[in-house]
Amino acid sequence: MLSYTIRRLLMLIPVLLGMTLITFSIVHLIPGSPAQTILGQNATEAAIKSLEESMGLNESYFKQYFLYIKGLLQGDLGTSLKSKAPIVKEIWPYIAGTFELTFFAMVFAVFVGVNAGIISAWKQNSWFDFLAMFVALIGVSIPVFWLALMEQWIFAQELGWFPAHGRQNNRDPIEAITYFYVIDTFIKMDFTQMVTALKHLVLPSIALGTIPMAIIARMTRSTMLEVMQSDYIRTVRAKGSGQFLIIYKHALKNAMIPVLTVIGLQTGVLLGGAILTETIFSWPGIGRYIFDAINYRDYPVIQSGILVIAFIFVMINLIVDLLYTYIDPRIKY
């Protein structure tokens, strides 16, 4: 297993190198120059030319790419054209924001999704099954922005239970250490602030977690139904085991493999694609960071941002693959 892990990690190198090449080419294919965006609509052509020159954008693509890769190998993700700050330093709070949100969204999605799926399979064709699958169907089809606005309207404006924007109360900011505010407040043992941070997470996590929750619920139900019809379950039942034990001890383990794959993929999707949720809930995350960069044609930020997301995506899938062996010891690498 160790050699497998090492092999997988080595495979990262060509994967990420390929990613850089793809993002670099796409980014430079988008029409519109960053100099134009920076200088705005009243810029003179001469000003645009001279800024492009000073930003090194008049060099050949080959040379620009070479310089970028050279920097990457030295651990330098580049410098943002917009803020003029090194990306390595700037990107962390955004990654932390997205990670925290994704983590809680997935906790919600997995907990609700898996259990709803199990119960639906267990009580197949019951009213609960129909209701759960109906909700799941709505869950996959509901537009995130609509759900988010409804949540804000009901739980923030009308009931006032949860805050509807940002990661913290800006009137009383949380001191950032790791930028995972839940962890930061835990380190400082400041539980009032921890509650504030958690409250800010509730609405966006639900909005973000609804689609994965629905997918996981449907997936769990169908694999559970399949497993429940297999011979070994009949044997267990013949031995007199109770239904609850059969499901949670014997069936779930085997049903979990495809579900785990979905969880891994969905986590990756959320990490990179939370732009809508992040915008509506004013969540300073990586999706908004890259989206702004695209609008601004901030080439280094787009390239390095996508690279970081790709890296995380690959790592998560690696972890999922390693978890297979844990859940099903028959799987060997």
Binding site: A43, V88, D172, T178, Y179, Y248, S282
Partner: protein
Amino acid sequence: MRSKRSKWSLLLMLMFLLMLVLSACGGGEDEPSEAEGDADTTETDDGSDATEDSGGEKTLVFARGGDSESLDPGSTSDGESSRVTRQVLETLIDFAPDSFELEPGLAKEWEVSDDGLKYTFYLQEGVKFHDGTDFNAEAVKINFDRFADPEHEYAFADHDYVYFMYSAMFGGHKGDEGHVVDEVVVVDDHTVEFNLNTPLGFFLQNMGMTYFAITSPAALEEYGPEINENPVGTGPFKFISWTKDDSIILEKNEDYWKEGLPKLDRLIFEVIPDNAARLIALRSGDIDIMDGLNPDDAAGVETDEDLTLYARDENNFGYVGFNVQNEPLDNELLRQAISHAIDREAIVDALYAGYGTVAKNPLPPSYLGYNDDVEGYQYDVEKAKEVLAEAGYEDGLEIDLWTMPVARPYMPDPEKTAEIIQNNLAEIGITVNIVREEWAPYLEKTAAGEHQIYMLGWSGTNGDPDYFLSSLLHGDLIGDSNREFYQSDKVDQLLNEAKVEIDQEKRADMYKEAQAIIAEDVPMVPLVHSTPVMASSSTVKNYVPHLSTSESLEEVDLE
């Protein structure tokens, strides 16, 4: 059962562990940067202070749609940046709270020589920067030399700092042919002189622009190119911290030179990108003032007792421009026909919810030299058809209309505006194809003249007509900001003369004449002057939105 549960908790633990490991990396990355570490510590100290005695603290949260680009005002033209730097840094001359009239700022008075080539500013005495150093004539000189000279030690040209608003307003940089500032001379500690190469009619107006605010020279030395994240000025509020895409926190400057100001203890600028979400935040009391209210929501805010509605005065105009160098729009009659066919009233009512006025000149009405005698082209379908026939297009024609991909205060819904125009022109037999481009290429391609008809607008920054008329319609700027490719010797001459004239009445006459000629030549159809709406909680007092979109919040109070 037990083992199953432990496996689940293991999975959760693994994810948690991954977060911890990643966060540890993050912490490590942050350590080397001392400046940021310091800022963070300050933030905590103040943060806990605020919690302790929050009873007497007055904290105001101002929410807007986007984050600031930079907190170094000279090197940006971004309105969200000015809005914040306006509170921290001050200019030699101030604008009045509700107009572009000049008032003393860091300069208590000023003199202009008769030939308009020498401006002498007498500075306020006893003013200190937030870092404790003295504000004096030397500081003014260092700041303006920094804007003017890319070689200056604080120009940070090798870090891609470009002072493009300076070159736009003062005719270029040091060594350029059109650069009007010859030299800045320190006369004594509190007197500074600007010697000009040529007179500039709007020199004083320029001095009120947020872009030309005075930064502490000691801070320029200390922070170097990181000055864009560490503004240090003389303003009513001190900069505390900036969490990107989230919030900027400012704090009362206890030693502010204006007695009794500011009234707030803390000022927080928060980013809430979505207009609807921002209004919800206002209604639930999380924020106190919001910019960028949807015009459609204005009625709801007005009837709400807990909220106050504001409309900024007109300082912009949205327009439809023609590419007059190419067929078929080089035909003046065709342009006139189109002008008569567009129902501007309907556009104002449908898209601005009434918060706008129909425009007839490429200049906001409150401006110096606005020509109210220009009649403009009334909406008249029959007349339009007649003129169209006269132009030789009885059978109609097909035309491309480029529409902006982004909303701007002067054009809140460009797509719908384009559709209305499409319908309007269909009525007189012109088939309009709507062309869509992304923002940056849109600006590039229209500047290169690839369009036939396009939409854009312009917002004022120094309250001077030159900024509108010259930028948009001077022949020298064809291919830059003159996207009409309009060139009239008479207009160019008037604009050139008005630019160097320092008698404001004479300037007004010249701009009036220019507008009359422009109206006759129809290089563009001015559509609307919008009055962008905003809202605040009714506890907010003394808030006056300024035309320029950046107002000082020193007088604002909470009840």
